[in-house]
């Protein structure tokens, strides 16, 4: 007997965050640009309808932007990070456990809630997120993470589901799987998709029914696990999944709560190195690092604390030591004494293929400085002394990213809070 898993995913997350504070963006096409205002990384439904694709470079879109009055915003990760913290807090009462998968996706463990109507439960969770943050979400429910993810995609695409697709029901599951392209199944890479297509497997349903032996000959262990997941047998740790274009996360719960910053730094350092490894494996570089940690939300009698900090990597990087340095700064700034931390993780956003990564004017210079700083981190890491102060200060201060149309930091800076007319 498996316990139901859900994936709650924010719709057009970055755009929805912007719309929460600027009603002028509601109902019009909006795109949000990547680091340095390079390409479109988030699109409102209206912008998608105009044919703007994920990753389109903004200089190719000039005509469309002018013709349709598309609103173009720089990314505001301070805002997106703070809103994510709120989204996760709104989800917490509805789940036994949760796993932050990316800035806009959270897996939710519904174990212990099975006696409820889970569709209604998921709707209530979605409504709570909407109420607290204004951000619309979709929920997929299934026996495994892969099915939850697939259900989520179905809920997003098909208005019939009204935001919540429950794939535990066989009829619904079969209907969705038979219509879902195999190449879009979570974890199917481009090479595997091509092989599957040559073998005549084009839908998720066909993939599920594929003989394991055949899968082994065709793909990797990952493909076998994926097929098991499609059959409703949990086989996949999130870790085995390749990072998506949008983001990836490495998180863990602690066996024993962590009360000191050194131990937390040690854990975060491991996640950072692991994340760097995974990025290099997939030929990607990240533009943002978010580090987060929190106390056990299911022990309300204990002091509660939940923190996250988002830092930018400039230039974009896949170097674990650079990620570590950023994550460490985040932990240092967010750390408060007196709390028992039970979960921590880092998230990477703004991912881009390594060779497409924007080059910066001062790259060599800043690379050197990063190296200088990280060399020391390495020494520190080896000796376990993560509290040492970086020898090189302010490598981020050397220059600032282009972000010509960034919205205010509505929720994190007093000087930039929204105005209300009285």
């Amino acid at each position: 007997m498996t316990t139901p898993v859900a994936l709650i995913d924010c719709n057009n997350y970055y755009v929805s965050c912007e719309r929460a504070f600027d009603a002028g963006l509601v109902g019009v096409p909006v795109i949000v640009l990547s680091n340095n205002d390079g390409c479109a990384i988030a699109r409102s439904a209206e912008a998608k309808a105009l044919g703007i694709r994920m990753g389109d470079p903004v200089h190719f879109l000039r005509d469309k932007i002018a013709a349709h009055g598309i609103r173009v915003l720089s990314s505001n990760y301070a805002l997106y990070g703070d809103m994510q913290r709120r989204v996760v807090a709104a989800i917490q009462p509805f789940a036994r456990d949760f796993e932050i998968y990316s800035i806009d996706e959270t897996f939710v463990d519904f174990a212990g809630f099975e006696h409820l109507d889970l569709v209604a439960h998921a709707r209530a969770m979605s409504a709570q997120v909407r109420q607290w943050t204004s951000i619309p979400t979709c929920v997929g429910i299934g026996a495994t993470k892969t099915l939850a993810k697939l259900g989520n995609a179905a809920a997003k695409k098909n208005p019939l589901f009204d935001g919540v697709a429950d794939l535990r029901e066989e009829r619904v599951r079969d209907w969705v799987l038979d219509r879902f392209p195999a190449r879009d199944v979570w974890g199917v890479g481009r090479a595997t998709a091509a092989k599957l297509a040559r073998a005549g497997i084009t839908t998720a349903g066909q993939l599920r029914d594929m003989a394991m032996k055949r899968a082994r000959g065709l793909g990797t262990v990952v493909l076998e696990r994926l097929i098991a997941e499609l059959r409703g047998i949990p086989a996949m740790a999130v870790e085995t999944i390749e990072p998506q274009r949008k983001g990836m996360a490495v998180t863990r719960s602690f066996g024993t709560p962590v009360n000191d910053i050194e131990t937390l730094m040690g854990a975060v350092a491991q996640y950072a190195m692991r994340a760097g490894e995974k990025l290099r494996q997939h030929g990607l570089a990240a533009g943002r690092v978010t580090v987060f940690f929190h106390t056990d939300p299911h022990k309300p009698e204990r002091p509660q604390y939940s923190a996250s900090r988002t830092l930018s990597a400039q230039p974009m990087t896949s170097d674990g030591l650079v990620l570590l340095a950023l994550a460490r700064r985040g932990v240092e700034s967010a750390w408060r004494e007196g709390y028992a931390i039970t979960k921590a993780g880092i998230m990477l956003d703004d991912l881009i293929t390594q060779d497409l990564r924007p080059r910066t004017l001062f790259e060599e210079d800043s690379d050197k400085r990063v190296r200088l700083m990280t060399a020391m981190d390495e020494v520190n890491a080896r000796f376990g002394k993560f509290t040492a102060v970086p020898a090189v200060q302010g490598f981020r201060r050397g220059w600032t990213a282009r972000s010509e149309a960034r919205s205010p930091n509505y929720t994190t800076r007093i000087a930039e809070v929204p105005a209300v007319r009285a």
Binding site: G24, A89, T133, Y410, I414, V417, A419, V420, R421, A422
Partner: protein, 137 residues
């Protein structure tokens, strides 16, 4: 020349005391440490659902809310008649008191010379004002 004698070694585990031994007189306040007062913490009861906004204008001066004040708006609190609320009126954010009159919900100002707004489909009550912050001098 001395002959080599075989030796049998048994490891002996000694506990390492990780307690520091300060040399000076211990602070008598050590066990009575408290965190300093955190006004933000007191004002914002529900941080995940609360937002800070800056007030522009004078229509709520009768309620003691002035131009330039910071307010805390809680979206987890269910708005009721009598609450001061932030509402979106045709998309514009406005600060008013929510009032009920003859089964109709209204947004009313608390100063001379402002009209009332009927809560209809163009109005969304966004959140309930739960706190106010102001600095002098």
């Amino acid at each position: 020349m001395r002959a080599l004698v075989p030796v049998h070694l048994t490891p002996l585990e000694l506990p390492l005391l990780l307690v520091s031994t300060p040399a000076g007189f211990p602070s008598p306040a050590q066990d009575d440490m408290e965190e300093p007062i955190d006004l933000g913490d007191w004002l914002v009861e529900h941080p995940a659902a609360s937002y800070v906004m800056r007030v522009e204008g004078y229509s709520m001066s009768g309620a003691g809310i002035n131009d330039g004040d910071l307010i805390v708006v809680n979206r987890a609190k269910k708005p009721r008649a009598g609450h001061i609320v932030v509402a979106l009126v045709h998309g514009d954010r406005t600060l008013k008191r929510l009032a009920r009159r003859e089964d109709r919900l209204l947004l009313v100002a608390e100063a001379e010379g402002y009209g009332e707004i009927v809560v209809d489909e163009h109005v969304e009550v966004w959140g309930v004002v739960v706190g106010l912050a102001r600095r002098y001098a």
